[in-house]
């Protein structure tokens, strides 16, 4: 079982994604933007994997990742970009993130990724 933190501003999208991941027996937590995600990461156990949207109001994904990398404790948490931006692979590379998924999500690829960190 993996603990997934979804950082995503779109309520519907994250609701359905949460339901699908939970249906496979994983735990899911939600943060509506980077600020919330940072608050969450500063308390309790770190998640197994963060699924990070990039285009969000308030603190966006790029800023969140920059802030994460400034804190050694957070920097090592596994993370995947999950975004509808055009060249999501390049954005992930710029953010020093190994995994990326576009929107719409290739669910099989997402499940495979989650299993790696379960």
């Amino acid at each position: 079982m993996a603990r997934i933190l979804i950082v995503e501003d779109d309520i519907d999208f994250r609701e359905h994604l949460t339901a699908l991941i939970r249906a496979r027996g994983h735990e899911v937590e939600i943060a509506a933007d980077g600020e919330e995600a940072l608050l969450r990461l500063h308390v309790g156990e770190p998640p197994s994997l963060i699924l990070l949207d990039l285009m969000m109001p308030e603190m966006d994904g790029w800023t969140f990742r920059a802030r994460m990398l400034q804190e050694p404790k957070l920097a090592s948490i596994p993370i995947a970009v999950l975004s509808g931006v055009g060249s999501v692979g390049n954005e992930a590379e710029k953010l020093h993130i190994d995994h990326y998924l576009g929107k719409p999500v290739d669910l099989q690829a997402l499940y495979r990724l989650i299993e790696r960190y379960a």
């Binding site: 339901a19 509808g84 060249s87």
Partner: protein, 545 residues
């Protein structure tokens, strides 16, 4: 002549007469060659400022002053002509002196004034003394000292009085902060001059030296420029001449003219030296101001360049951002929709109809997904903004994934979808942009499934260490030879009447062609009408990423 000009000329003539008469009182050599001759400076300055047309005023003034002093009409006429020529020659030289500035703020202009003064006063002294000699006023033994006195008096007028008028008229910006300093310098200069040139104080102090005024003159020349130097020199000259005329001070001699001769040579050196020092100081100040102004101009230019650059960057950024925004805004709701479809698939109590609907929804959603991706990629390629994300990819995996995704469509169209993977020679991994490669294979296979009424679609993979070939073959209607070149053009739907039941925007093959090109590969087509088509994408495989 306008009344205004007449008044100006009258004023100049009257002034000339008065000042000349005053000058002639200073024990003039032979009665006419005085060592104190401010009219020369006044005449040069006024003609330079007002214009050479004022010359008759000089002629009349000089004539009147000399007649008043007792010169015969003919002699006075000669002297007057000499004095008039003096001013006209000096002004002519200065007006032809390149870049002459009457404010005397640079050494070059000072050089002009000194040159003009020497040439003009030599002319005047020669004509004046010749007139006196010709008129029988002086005898030949006195020719030399008369000429010398005449010349020195005129030269001093040109070097002391003309700069005084010119620099004050030029008007430099009032510097209120300096007025106190100017007052202090003035007081000190007058006091020192009095100590140096005035009545000898007992005991004779170390201050009673001709050099004592030099530091003060230097100070004024540097701090107050040409005007300061001209004024200070004038003040020193006036005090020294006054003292000497009362037979006191270091220049007191048996005769006034003897004392004045020694004094005026001293004043000439002072005047020439400090007018140059002041010009140098002005040049330095001006250079500093110019440098500062240039620095500001550069700074402004730099700032405007920065703003322009930022603006340009912003403008180009807007385009990228627009595509990025469209991409995000189109994909997000579709992504949510497809997640909902996935959730419907999980419904345990669904019957067969329900499942079929969900499968269809999923297939249509995926189609829309690829269409959006394709349009966005096409827009990026068209605007030269396609960013490749090259990474190590497994070609078999890509082909398999594409086939998995298209299987529902194949089943719906009752077509076979076969894979023919020849991996013996083809590399297991190679460097490419996986997403774009998937888009190519999906588009080709999707087209094949669309245009094949019955039979099957086969996706083949083959290659070697040099290249990788992915072929999509169908058993469809085929493409006539005449149309084969057109299929890769955007928005080119072949035979729209016959194919009207086949949905599509006609972007598929144009996009495929553009992407394959961007990936460094080529695409070829073999087709026979009513037998089928075969698209082959060839990509370099040498680099395994």
């Amino acid at each position: 002549m306008t009344p205004r000009r007449f008044a100006q000329m009258t004023a100049l003539a009257v002034t000339y007469v008065i000042v000349a008469r005053a000058g002639l009182l200073f024990d003039a050599e032979s009665g006419f060659a005085t060592l104190v001759w401010p009219p020369t400076g006044i005449a040069i300055a006024v003609l330079l400022i007002a214009g050479r047309w004022m010359w008759p005023a000089i002629l009349i003034g000089a004539f009147a002053a000399n007649v008043w002093t007792g010169a015969p009409i003919a002699v006075a006429s000669g002297i007057a002509i000499g004095n008039t020529l003096e001013a006209v020659i000096a002004v002519s030289i200065l007006q032809r002196w390149p870049r002459f500035e009457s404010a005397l703020v640079d050494v070059h202009s000072v050089g002009g004034l000194v040159t003009a003064a020497i040439v003009a006063t030599t002319t005047s002294a020669t004509i004046g003394v010749t007139s006196l000699f010709a008129g029988g006023v002086i005898a030949s033994p006195h020719l030399v000292e008369t000429w010398r006195a005449w010349w020195v008096g005129d030269l001093l007028g040109a070097l002391v009085v003309a700069p005084l008028i010119l620099t004050w008229r030029a008007g430099s910006p009032a510097r209120s902060l300096r007025s106190l300093e100017a007052l202090a310098a003035g007081v000190l200069l007058i006091a020192t001059s009095w100590l140096v040139f005035g009545p000898t104080l007992a005991p004779v102090g170390p201050f009673q030296q001709l050099y004592a005024v030099i530091p003060i003159l230097t100070w004024m020349a540097i701090r107050f420029g040409p005007r300061g130097a001209a004024t200070a020199t004038f003040v020193v000259a006036v005090i020294a001449i006054a003292a000497t005329s009362f037979s006191v001070g270091p220049f007191a001699r048996e005769t006034l003219r003897g004392g004045l001769m020694a004094l005026q040579v001293y004043v000439a050196f002072i005047a020439a030296t400090f007018i140059v020092v002041a010009a140098l100081a002005s040049e330095r100040a001006r250079a500093a101001r110019d440098a500062e102004q240039r620095r500001r101009e550069l700074e402004t230019a730099l700032q405007s360049m920065q703003v322009a650059r930022e603006h340009a960057e912003h403008a180009s950024g807007v385009k990228t951002d627009f595509l990025r925004l469209v991409s995000h805004e189109l994909r997000t709701p579709l992504a949510t929709l497809l997640l909902q479809v996935e959730r419907l698939k999980l419904e345990p109590d669904a019957d067969a109809d329900h499942r079929k609907l969900v499968t269809n929804m999923h297939a249509q959603g995926q189609r829309l997904h690829h269409l959006i991706d394709g349009l966005l990629d096409f827009a990026r390629i068209q605007s030269g903004r396609l960013e490749l994300h090259v990474e190590s990819a497994d070609p078999s995996r890509v082909v398999n994934d594409c086939a998995d995704e298209l299987r529902p469509l194949a089943e719906a169209n009752q077509l076979g979808l076969d894979l023919d993977l020849d991996t013996t020679a083809a590399p297991a991994r190679f460097a490419t942009d996986q997403r774009l490669l998937r888009l190519v294979v999906i588009n080709l296979a999707h087209n094949a499934l669309k245009f094949t009424p019955k039979g099957k679609v086969t996706i083949m993979l083959a290659g070697d260490a040099r290249e990788l070939r992915i072929t999509v073959r169908d058993t469809g209607r085929g493409i006539p030879l005449a149309d084969q070149q057109r299929v890769f053009e955007p928005f080119e739907l072949l035979d729209p009447v016959r194919n009207k039941h086949v949905p599509g925007v006609g972007l598929g093959l144009a996009l495929v062609h553009a992407i394959v090109t961007a990936l460094g590969g080529t695409i070829s087509l073999e087709s026979i009408v009513d037998q089928g088509s075969s698209f082959t994408v060839t990509l370099p495989s040498g680099n395994d990423g």
